[in-house]
Every structure is written in C-alpha cells, then in structure tokens.
Subunit: 350 residues, 2 copies
C-alpha cells in the first residue's frame, strides 16, 4: 500500500500563484484540486508517476521572455514527467503504457501523443527517462561532446558535479580519456564525485580559496569548462582557460535568483577580451532545440554505458506532489544530492 | 625620383621606448638609426617597401602576455611588411623578389626565409599582401565563413565597416546573399560602405541613437555579428542577437587603450545569460594560429573575386617610416579610411 496522496478522482495541481523576486518562496505557488481532465478523441489521459524538478523552471517563473514563454499566473507549473496511460482514445497508446511527457506539476494531464516518448519498462527504469536517459542526459552528452569536443588527455572542469547534468558530463569525459575536475557543494558530494563517479578531483565551492585550489587541481589549465552555474565558479575558471578552450554554456544556476546585476566594475569587456586572446569558444545551447534530433544516437550510447557499469546515476527521490515546492526551492540552493525527482503516484511496474 | 627618406646605407628603426598607459603617444616610440644588418649563410637581406599598421599592435605594447609576447622596451616594433630581397644567401630567393615578411617598423631586416611568402607582382599588387590578400583578408574570410557560417537571407552586422577587415567581411557576406549592415565613423565612410561596397545600410557610430538606428536597420534581428570593436557598438548589438546567432570575435579596438574596466554594474553574467537563452556562439580567433593552413583556399577565392570586380579594396597610404607613429595613433582613433599601409621605400616594380 502506497502512502502517496494521489487519488483516482481528483487532480491536484500546483499553480504559479505569483512571480518571485529573488529566491522563490512557498507563497509563489498554490496547490489546488480540480476534477480529472477528460481526453478527447485522439488523446490519452496520463497519470503522473514521476515529476522532474530542474533549475530551468526558475526562469519560467519570471515574466521575461527567455527561450520559452513564461508560465502564466494561475497556470500549472511546467515540467517533464513520467506517466502511465490511464485511458486511451489514441490508437498508438494502450492503457498501462509508460511514457515521458510534459505533464507539469499535477496528478493528471491529457496529450494528443505528439509530445510523448514511450518507455520500455523492461529495459529502462522509468524514472531514468527524466535524467540519465532524458533531458539532463542529452544535455550532458551533446554539450560536452558536440560543443566541448574534448580530446583524451585534456582537462575538463564541471560544476554541480553530482547534479543530474554535471555527474554525467564528468563521467562521459572520463570515458573519453580526459582529466576531470568537479566542483560541488560540500565534502560528501566531493567525496562521491571522486570515489564513486571517478573524477580526478572535486573541490568544494564553499571554500574561500577555490581559485587557488582550482589552479592547483588544473596544473595544465582548463580545456573544456562545462558551464552550468556561473558566478564565482566561473570567476575562478576564467583565468585558467587554455588557448582554444571550449565553454558549452548550459545553465547559470547561481544567477537565477538574482534581482539585479552585481556591482561593478563591468567585466563584460574583460570576458570578451579573454575569449579573444585565448581564442575561446563559448556557446549557449538549449538541448531540445539544438539537439533533439540526435536523441536516438545519445540513447544508444548511454544505454550501453549504463549496462556496462561505466556510468553511475544517482536519484534524489522525494515522495508526494505536495512536497514539490519545498524540493524545488532546495534544488536552487543545492540541497539535492543526485537528480531530483518527485514520486507523485505509485510506481509499481505491474 | 622618390621623396622617401630610405637610404641604402643605414637602417632606420622605430623602437618601443616606453609602455603606454591609455592611448599611445609619440613619446612611447623612438626612431633610431643603425647599420644595415648582414645576412648570414641561408639568410636574405630584406628592404621594407610597405609596412602594415594594424590594431593588434597596440596589444603588443603592453607588458601583459596576450596571444603573443609583448614587444620588449627598446626592441623594434613588430609588424607585417612587404619587402624586396636586396641580397640573398638562400637558394630559394633571388635579388629583387617581392615577399610578405614580418619585417617590423624598420628599413631593413634579415630572414632565413621560413616566414616569407613570395608575391608574384605580375599578378598581385604587392601591397595587397598586407590587406585583401593577406592577414586582414584571411581574418575576414575565415572569421565570417568558418565561425560566422552566414546563410543567404540572414542579417550580418560588422563595425569598422570601411576598415581593412570590416570592408571585406561585409562584401563577402553580400556575395553569400546576406543582408549587411555596417557601422562606421562618420558620413563619408558610411556613404562609401553603401555606395561603393554595396552594404544595405551603414550607421554612424558617433550617433547618439545608434541602438535605435541599429534596431531599425536590423528589423529581423542579427544572425552574425562580426566583432572587431566592442564597447558601445556591442552594447547596441547584444539585445538584437537572434536565437542561434554567431559572434566571431576578431578584435576589440574600442578597448585597446583602456586602462581600467568600465564602471558597474557588472554585466558579465548578463552577457553569459544572453549567450545561454539565445543559444549564441561567441568565438575568439587569432587568424594565423587558427587558419594559417587554409591560406591557399582563401587566396584562390579572394583573387577570383578581386579579378571579377566583386570585391573593392581601398588602401590608405602614408609615405615615410618616420610618419608611422602618427599614422598608428590615428588608426586607433579611426582616422584612417581604408587599410593603413606605410610606404617605407620606393615601390617601383622594375
């Protein structure tokens, strides 16, 4: 008997109640209940089993047009999910099918099937579709390999080293023969990155002397910096970039809660000057826009690495849709350890 | 009879006398005379006919290690040159040969031949080896085509639009079917860019409302921004960059004389945020390091465009080595109109 509060009759939804200024608080969200949606002809009714919580969601809470439209006030928070088909009026899906969907922060949703990817639960742990075999995995794989172009023997640095993306970036770089230096928050995460993930070193970003530690750990400079945090980690990285370094720009989590630009001086020209004299490539990417078409190639490679034990993957599971808000606020503070996933409904495979 | 002060007996040299703080002044340079150097076995004696003056030289005057070592105090200023072989102790070169060399700011130099490229003066105007067929040409060609990857119909923006590099970037972009918007200093240059070079528009960077003018001229946003100036031109460009825009980073002439970073706020994270959400590639390059091996491909294409009248090329000739300092200081202020070349010695082709 499962202790989750998902019911068969009502649809709990977490809405965006107001836009945060700075870090989001519980007041920015609202839990409401409504009736289950009804699928039209050609649609399926989906029950959310797992909800993915990811840093990009903070950007959707702002009113500014980013790479995607903001969530409207009183609209359901967006999010990737792993769902089961409860009712099907679409010939391509049967009741019980596991799918990766964009169901959002709620118990039930409907889809016409166009955005769904079926999961073979005999091959793949369904929740992995939100992480190592889903968006974060594709992000790590494409950002590192297509933009970062690491060569064996080069030094790769990645922050949020035990997070959903960073842990995979570092492990793929190790598979490619690179030296990998991670940066993470606290001794436990750093220990895990070295002992379990096989990084060559992992530094605590809370250390006062991070710049010195990083310079020591990267004695030959930095060839690829996979950027997912920004802020003082990037400040420490910038002077160590080697000629022809590559900086795939995947996220800037340290900046997401900022309400104003930092005080001066204005280092924008200094960054551009560094890119110029060191011939650095810095390239932003949005994984499904840029690399969605290469998902099959990624899936094949990652499946194989997983099955051979070359990739370790850690999930941080939180039970209950009602706990999503607290978990998400913690994610932005680095409180999770591994890919953050909310178990919304019973996940028995039968 | 030529009025240049080049003699057959002495070697005038312009040395770096002191390092500038801010814009260079005449006092940072020193004109000295010494005896002509003597080529050893395997070497040639070169007489400088043309000296190239280029913005990158400002960087070499600083003590900071940039992409190349700084010029030492009391050392001859570095620079590309077109020379004639005066005396040869190298079987590969004959007296009278025209070559592109790195002769520096002086009348005579010696070389073992390894850094020399012969010019067929029956095909090519020798001074073009310092511009449209030399380093600036290769810079424009590779930065635009290899990093910028412009597609027909896209909007390309380039500053210093009548300069050695910018004028070629815009014309190559036109050949590739792009819409080209230039930015230049003053009405005369802007007029030239539109009427002679065929740009679709050219804006005066002295205008107060440059951001508005640029937004109007780039109604469909900016797909490629070839960056060679930085500063307030980039400030105007940044908000107009389209998703997946490319920014080849070739120079930052507006910053070269800066002695300190601008006042805040610190926009470094804002630049990275823009690159991220718009999926922009910004990539610095140093042309001979990155693309020297592709010189033949470039030469063939550019030769053909020149011979077909598809590329216009304007030189700004200054007579006399002794006038190099004033000309160089003016270059950093945008006083030249076309590729700045100093005629150091007689250039009769016989």
């Amino acid at each position: 008997m499962d202790t989750l509060n998902q019911s068969q009759n009502t649809n709990r939804q977490i809405l965006l109640a107001s836009r945060p200024s700075g870090p989001p608080t519980a007041e920015n969200f609202k839990l409401v209940s409504s009736s289950k949606p009804e699928p039209a002809e050609g649609e399926v009714l989906l029950r959310t089993v797992y909800l993915s919580l990811d840093p990009y969601m903070r950007g959707r809470m702002n009113d500014a047009k980013s790479y995607a439209d903001p969530v409207a006030i009183n609209e359901v928070m967006v999010g990737g999910s792993v769902c089961r088909v409860e009712l099907s009026r679409n010939a391509n899906f049967a009741v019980g099918d596991w799918v990766v969907a964009g169901g959002g922060w709620q118990d039930f949703s409907v889809s016409n099937g166009a955005d769904l990817v079926k999961i073979d639960s005999t091959l793949v742990k369904p929740s992995y579709g939100l992480g190592v075999l889903g968006m974060p995995g594709l992000t790590a794989y494409m950002g590192l390999l297509d933009i970062g172009q690491p060569e064996a023997g080069e030094t790769v640095v990645v922050a949020a080293a035990t997070g959903a993306v960073g842990s995979l970036v570092g492990q793929i770089a190790k598979i490619k023969g690179c030296k990998v230096v991670g940066i993470a928050g606290g001794a436990e995460k750093c220990d895990y990155a070295v002992k379990k993930l096989g990084f060559d070193a992992c530094l605590d970003h809370y250390s006062e002397d991070l710049p010195t530690q990083l310079a020591n750990a990267c004695a030959d400079g930095i060839d690829v910096y996979f950027e997912n945090v920004g802020g003082r980690v990037f400040d420490a990285v910038m002077p160590l970039l080697n000629p022809s370094a590559r900086v795939p720009l995947c996220g800037l989590i340290s900046q997401y809660n900022a309400t104003a630009l930092p005080e001066g001086p204005d280092r924008m020209s200094a960054l551009m000057g560094t890119l110029l004299v060191k011939r650095v490539k810095m390239q932003g990417f949005i994984v499904f826009d840029d690399y969605g078409h290469r998902y099959p190639e990624f899936f094949t490679a990652m499946q194989q690495w997983l099955s051979q034990g070359q990739i370790h993957y850690k999930e941080h599971l939180v039970d209950g849709l009602e706990n999503s808000v607290e978990a998400f606020i913690g994610l932005l503070e680095g409180k999770n350890f591994g890919k953050l996933v909310v178990r919304v409904g019973p996940d028995n495979l039968a």
